[in-house]
Subunit: 234 residues, 2 copies
């Protein structure tokens, strides 16, 4: 926990093709952390579209961000286009070096990996990209939320809500996190038991893997290039 | 279930002061319903801010919407400013009359109530506004998701995800909903048991009630006026 009178600068990275709930799930929590400023940073301050078309607008460009205390990196198909974007990777490295906490959601972990931030770190990501973590030197942990020192990793998509509540508790104590959870009425009742590859019906899993096969293949090729660049044996 | 070859027009209402996850939680599901078009409609097409500042932009203004098959009405503090906005209420009445499904999330239910759409209907809303449902002639049901005929009500905030998956199953069958749930990795693990007034620690509940006392009082006064206008005895 951080002294309650220490103001926190919290920032999320936003990019074209983000999976919006990787951002907006945590937003609901991060925007309610006591004594904090929360802003969203894009590569530029221009509006972007999420992977399904939601129009989102950053508060500012990454170049305008102060040193953040909490850096949040969401994922989504668009992460792939930033994997070799040196301006973004340099910003992530710079921010992560000075931050109290880094919070990765979904394939945001691959972006952190490309920035060279995952070496030797216990990490998780979306199930469809889970096998790629070793290319970045990470140790894959098949859990919904993984806490490794000052890092919090949330697995796929909606896991960002669980991860953000864990992070809120790390930053401001459990009571603060519980108050946010109550406001959000977060007592989930999924109507089906189909939220993980282990639990989903096999035919549905097979179709899901087929539908992401293209992006997964692309991500793997990128991960191999990143491994070579980072000097990670794979 | 609707014939798979019947294309669905799905639309969400967006307004200044929406609680963004009332919109963005369902977005993750609604934007993935097979054979559908999903668009977001604002009172105008101008960008708005959610209650905590997230910048969101509608796809179009309500006046440009076709007859929707599925109408989604989110909530948030900003709902209060629309409770006597005849242009919006008229649009809701008109759309609801022709829609296959209406999906209310959180205090979106109050807005539907102000439009006169809840008379005799089993409904739910955010716990802080639950006691207001009878002013609109609704029958309050203390469940996370309530299905009443062609209506689906989700209680507070994150309940919109559960409600949207239920709705997806109603529209396109359980397998379609399960496939979306798998993609979203929706197998929640809330870190605390604090998501309902019944489960949250009493001191946290007390603080939460105090923090929403102002808006709750305002909502009650508005609900009384609506009851008088609708001729509902309260």
């Amino acid at each position: 926990m951080i002294p309650p009178d220490k103001h926190l600068e919290i920032g999320s990275l936003l990019f074209e093709g983000v999976d919006q709930i990787d951002l907006t799930g945590p937003f609901e929590v991060l925007s309610r952390i006591p004594n904090s400023t929360y802003r969203i940073y894009g590569k530029t301050a221009e509006p972007v579209r999420d992977v399904r078309g939601l129009r989102l607008t950053p508060d500012a460009a990454i170049g305008e961000a102060p040193q953040l205390d909490v850096l949040h990196v969401p994922g989504g198909f668009g992460q792939e286009d930033l994997m070799e974007d040196e301006a973004v990777l340099r910003w992530l490295r710079h921010q992560a070096a000075g931050a109290r906490s880094v919070f990765s959601v979904c394939t945001g972990a691959l972006l952190c990996g490309a920035a060279g931030l995952l070496r030797g770190r216990r990490a998780t990501t979306h199930w469809a990209s889970f096998d790629l973590l070793p290319y970045f030197g990470a140790i894959p942990i098949n859990e919904r939320v993984v806490v490794d020192g000052t890092w919090v990793f949330a697995a796929g998509v909606t896991a960002g809500i669980d991860g953000a509540l864990r992070l809120a508790a790390e930053l401001r104590g459990e009571d603060a996190a519980k108050a946010i959870q109550l406001y959000m009425a977060y007592a989930p009742e999924p109507p089906f038991d189909s939220g993980t590859p282990e639990r989903a019906p096999p035919t549905i899993l097979e179709q899901a893997r087929a539908s992401v096969a293209g992006i997964t293949k692309r991500r793997e090729a990128t991960a191999r290039r990143a491994a070579a660049k980072l000097g990670v044996k794979s």
